[in-house]
Symmetry: C2
Subunit: 327 residues, 2 copies
């Protein structure tokens, strides 16, 4: 197969400018977030917006529902857009909505964002009782239809249980190892080991709060961390999940953190003195910089095939295995 550049998660303020930068950067596919806290109906409104964008910029973007759709997009010079949720709010309390959403093209769903959900626990809760009764049912339904579990924002026990319960490999689309940078959102060694052992994918995040050194993190440190992760787990199930939130106003990070659930302000990974989006590292400001990561991976000693895998081929192989109905 050829080589593909795939970003395992972005939530930009979408615009022609961002889509053109994706083309300039040679980004073949991006998993985009279409819901943080939205209800079913609100998320359908977001799909409606995307459909208008697909109609308006057919030379730049196209929706993908499968690995083959990504291949077709590359062949026609478009960036493939794959829908996902960072929270199960769009299925509300209705398990039938899993299949409805799969039909509408959703291919990733986090079982929880930072808080407790109906399905699992988020990484900011004090106690994690594990996957709920509904969560167990929804995991089986996601497995059946071909929607990938994403535990990026989930808490430790829920994540380990989800890996165990899921009959198909799961994902952590955007996080880094806790041993590199001990942020609440980064993942423990036991989670990363269980993920890798079951064929699950890890997308390395470029969100500054997930980086050792934050906005000042150097490319060689980021790529060196990937090299160490590859030594532990092999490189076949590693990819990029940049968590790029380009051009978003700070009210969007407030929405991510607070939704409609709080009357106090939750600052998440930020703080009262730094409540907004952090500045991106200067070597990854937007989609045009993705080649820097390719160069950085070469520089830390990955061979060409390993680099191609981490840059996108590993995600594509995972899409092929994950997005269709269970066999």
């Amino acid at each position: 197969m050829g080589n593909y550049v795939i970003d395992g998660l972005q939530y930009a303020r979408w615009s022609e400018n961002v889509f053109r930068q994706m083309r300039e950067g040679g980004v073949d596919a991006v998993h985009v977030t279409i819901a943080y806290h939205e209800t079913f109906r609100e998320t359908v409104l977001n799909v409606g917006r995307w459909n208008r964008w697909f109609q308006r910029w057919p030379d730049l973007i196209t929706q993908a529902r499968s690995g083959d759709d990504v291949r077709r997009a590359q062949a026609t010079g478009q960036t493939a857009i794959i829908f996902g949720f960072q929270n199960p709010s769009p299925i509300e309390d209705d398990i039938d909505l899993v299949e409805i959403w799969h039909t509408l093209g959703v291919r990733f769903m986090q079982l929880s964002y930072n808080n407790q959900s109906l399905l699992a626990t988020g990484c900011y809760e004090a106690v994690d009782p594990g996957v709920t009764r509904m969560g167990k049912q929804v995991i089986a339904e996601m497995n059946r239809v071909g929607m990938v579990l994403d535990m990026s924002h989930s808490a430790e026990r829920s994540t380990l249980e989800a890996i165990e319960m899921s009959a198909r490999p799961i994902s952590i689309t955007h996080a880094n190892p806790h041993w590199w940078h001990p942020a609440l959102r980064n993942k423990s060694d036991s989670v990363l080991r269980a993920l890798a052992e079951t064929g699950g994918m890890l997308g390395f995040s470029l969100y500054p709060h997930h980086l050792a050194g934050g906005s000042d993190c150097r490319l060689e440190d980021f790529c060196g961390m990937i090299a160490r992760a590859a030594e532990r787990h092999g490189s076949d199930h590693l990819g990029i999940g940049s968590d790029l939130c380009q051009d978003q106003p700070d009210r969007v990070v407030e929405w991510m953190r607070n939704g409609r659930w709080s009357k106090e302000t939750d600052y998440g990974e930020g703080s009262a003195s730094a409540p907004g989006f952090p500045a991106q590292p200067d070597w990854f400001k937007d989609n045009r910089d993705i080649a820097n990561i390719r160069d950085g991976l070469r520089a830390v000693g990955f061979n060409a095939e390993e680099v191609a895998g981490i840059m996108g081929n590993n995600w594509l192989r995972f899409f092929d295995l994950s997005f269709g109905p269970a066999q």
Copy 2:
């Protein structure tokens, strides 16, 4: 091509029994109603129910989104189910929902049921001002994505305008000619002529209120009416749209007629003394009787190819032309 048996509209109380009768009758495809007055969310609940039925009886039924899906269903011995609305209520006031519903498999939408809708006028209104501003936009969007206009319950002017405005052939999935039986729901000669001249499909109804003689209508009279319609308009755009409401309790016809819009009781084509579903003619009680119509069409002089066309091949050709995006 082979021969296909297709019913252009049914709204049974769906059950394993009905699905088995479809198989026994050799019915290859049925356009089923999934909304009368339901909102967007309520109609999604109905899709959820259908998805459970598809999962439960895969040997009997399968969802179809295209003519080729109908061909595949015949090859695998299933009845293909095609979703449609009798009212535009599931798109609410949101034109983006047309594409969302198309993605979920909806292939027919009536622009109005018996009342005025946001799009057009129903056949029970005193005045028909024609297709509305939103209606005009929605027709263009339905044309774009490949969702067929159905004007079965719409009023005269709205229907003629819809035929004129639509860039693609439309349908009247379940009605008969007014010249045969002057019921409010049956269609004028000018409507039928405009429909035929633009390549639109007419599905002949077996709902007793649409039949000359009602429940006592004889098979030869029904087929004789089809023969006369074919003399006027040719037989290539004629089919069956039985409007079979098998096993439904009378509260369902109350829902069809009254939805949530009235505090008085509207009896529609019934009356206070006969408010319920009328009895089916004894030669068309359920899907197993569909061969009687085939025999009846032969008996009134149609040749084998014409019979095959009216029994389903005309619908299938229409599906091929209508269910995909505009070229």
